[in-house]
Symmetry: C2
């Protein structure tokens, strides 16, 4: 086991009616705030007014950037960075889901450099610093509210790429599960599939992890499996929304990884689906996940797949390994496609196979994704192909 | 479910050979360091030299305070605070187990006030600020390396009391499981009983907790149950030491509590045992724990005790509630007394019943400890009495 550094300083205000602290938290960094959001939903649900009231009460000067799109584009980053520079912004406040917060994080970094911020992605230029980011989360899904990553799309190059840096970790997150009461069933499902997949990316790691972290990840997966269907059926169930929201942060904030390297296998496969066909990220992951599990099963990966079946799905350990893994994959499919009601294959999205070659090449960056199972271009292509057929 | 604020900014260097970062971390706060430790063991195992080398390399001026005792006394706090004031200390570095770190935390607070720091305990004077504390942990037990508490004894008043404040949370903790290879079996056992009890104090809470946190706490308890005996048998087992060490921090850093109030029931009962008879804290907790579980079982507490039996101990949920709880308590006793080899009753320590009345009165502060089960003086006395008999 290697060393690791645990450093996760995000302060979280969890629960309803805490937004009055937004102003005092933002004021710690200066007078000028960039206020980022997406469409008009935060004006309808009252979040805009509450956040503004708190910022105004703290005497802050607010510049607005609205219209940040789902799967945020680099154009929005350019716009935001310009506003930061023009208005001497001290702190970026993001009110929204993963897209708005991701965009705000990269705006915060772009405000500190003179070059094209797309280079953070295209050239992997390290993000050395960023303006402080404070977010008000409106969707339990990406975990960006407590992690060091952001994903941005570039329509010109048909790319969707991620960047990571400790400088991107939000200083403060406001997480009110009641805000997500209005999240529609489809988005709740896609977000939950995203959370589940984040946990699985770390759970299916190349090396054994700390026992205590394995058990934590299994508990988190069970949390998503238990509460996502409840939140879809009964959207104002606070217990369900609270468990999903807090799980979304702990699924991906780095705690689960322990001393393991960060290896993402399913995410790069999915990113090509969103970039090429605009498929909702979590839904794309739902389609990829069981096909990945099926494709990677071999002698070396079997023990971990069995653990997944026994500890997460409660499958009888007395069964044969093959039976356990068959059942585990079937239960995963049942959860994602039957309980979460997500379309189970790519044909349903009008996808044809003609781009799979190029997509697979991009997903593995013309090399190998070393991880739980080493994935080359042909492996990824085969997984895309398996995603075309309905599940059993 | 109430709101809560999660704010746990401790940076952790986990694993061997990270102590070279001590100097750079301490230097963030200024030039003058108070270096606190206990007996001479850190000189024998090389930690003293490594820590000093890193502090010297960073050009820091170091003042030493050695001889901090187990169950640290307020006298050591007076001494340390004086050294801080005389030497314009900017940062307190503690190398040791819970006692040294607790003492360093209160020294760091005492250095910032002009009154007698015993008032933090006797008068509950709030701790508003403290010098930054950095620790190098040598024993997995109290969790003080990542929490906001410290416990100090006052031999004059026969008191052992705790204080808590966000100002006491260490800035940085160095946690090297290999350092604990030399911890003897008895201390490993007592430390593990302490960790287990910390988790149970939050698990047996007055209100339902978040499902995801329940599952995490059960995973943590299973971690202690699995690895404590391994660490006793095979002291240089890194996997066991690493799981115990990281579990010790997460047992008590506040994450598990969620929106529940902090209620400690078994700790105040035990503190009287240490204060009156010098019983090792974790050993005292081991003796109290199963008697507490037995004493508090009633209709209201039963569902949670059953959950404890099924999820932590894997007891068949088809059994009757009474059978499940009987088995859960028996398994807890077997773990603490047979596997950890801890003496199972107070008579073995020469304790007689004559002080139980006064001890019980002190434990509940002449009132009621409201919690999972409301404990008054007579309840606590009955628990002490049950601790006199060997377990079944």
């Amino acid at each position: 086991m290697d060393n690791f550094i645990y450093n996760l300083p995000t302060k979280v205000y969890f629960g309803p009616d805490q937004l009055q602290h937004l102003g005092e938290e933002a004021a710690k960094y200066g007078k000028n705030v960039l206020f980022c959001y997406g469409g008009g939903s935060i004006k309808k649900n009252g979040l805009y007014d509450k956040a503004m009231a708190s910022l105004n009460e703290a005497g802050l000067h607010v510049t607005e950037l609205s219209g940040i799109e789902p799967n945020p584009k680099i154009e929005s980053v350019y716009k935001g960075a310009e506003l930061c520079k023009e208005n001497h912004i001290d702190c970026v406040v993001a009110v929204g889901g993963g897209s708005v917060i991701d965009c705000a994080k990269i705006i915060a970094a772009a405000a500190c450099v003179d070059f094209d911020p797309w280079e953070f992605f295209s050239k992997k230029t390290p993000i050395e610093k960023a303006l402080p980011v404070i977010d008000v989360l409106t969707l339990a899904a990406t975990g960006t509210e407590m992690d060091d990553c952001a994903v941005i799309s570039n329509p010109e190059t048909v790319d969707k790429m991620g960047a990571a840096s400790p400088a991107l970790i939000p200083k403060v997150s406001f997480m009110d599960p009641a805000v997500t009461f209005s999240v529609p069933a489809y988005q709740t499902a896609a977000g939950s599939a995203d959370i589940l997949n984040h946990i699985m990316e770390d759970y299916f790691a190349p090396r054994p992890n700390l026992f205590m972290l394995d058990r934590f990840m299994e508990g988190l997966m069970q949390t998503v499996i238990r509460y996502a269907p409840i939140a879809m059926e009964d959207p104002e169930n606070y217990e369900a929304r609270a468990n999903l929201m807090w799980a979304s942060s702990w699924a991906i904030n780095g705690f689960n990884r322990g001393a393991n390297p960060k290896v993402w296998s399913m995410h790069p496969i999915e990113h090509q689906l969103t970039a090429n066909y605009g498929i909702t990220h979590g839904h794309g992951l739902a389609i990829v996940t069981p096909r990945y599990l099926q494709y990677v099963r071999n002698e070396k990966t079997m023990p971990r797949l069995v653990e997944f079946g026994v500890w997460v799905w409660g499958i009888d350990p007395a069964l044969s390994d093959d039976e356990i893994v068959d059942q585990a994959i079937a239960k995963t499919e049942n959860f994602l496609f039957d309980q979460l009601k997500l379309t189970d294959n790519l044909k349903g999205f009008g996808v044809s196979e003609d781009r799979f070659d190029a997509m697979a090449e991009k997903a593995c960056k013309k090399g190998i994704i070393h991880g739980f199972f080493d994935l080359g271009k042909e492996d990824i292509k085969a997984i895309y192909q398996a995603c075309m057929q309905p599940h059993a």
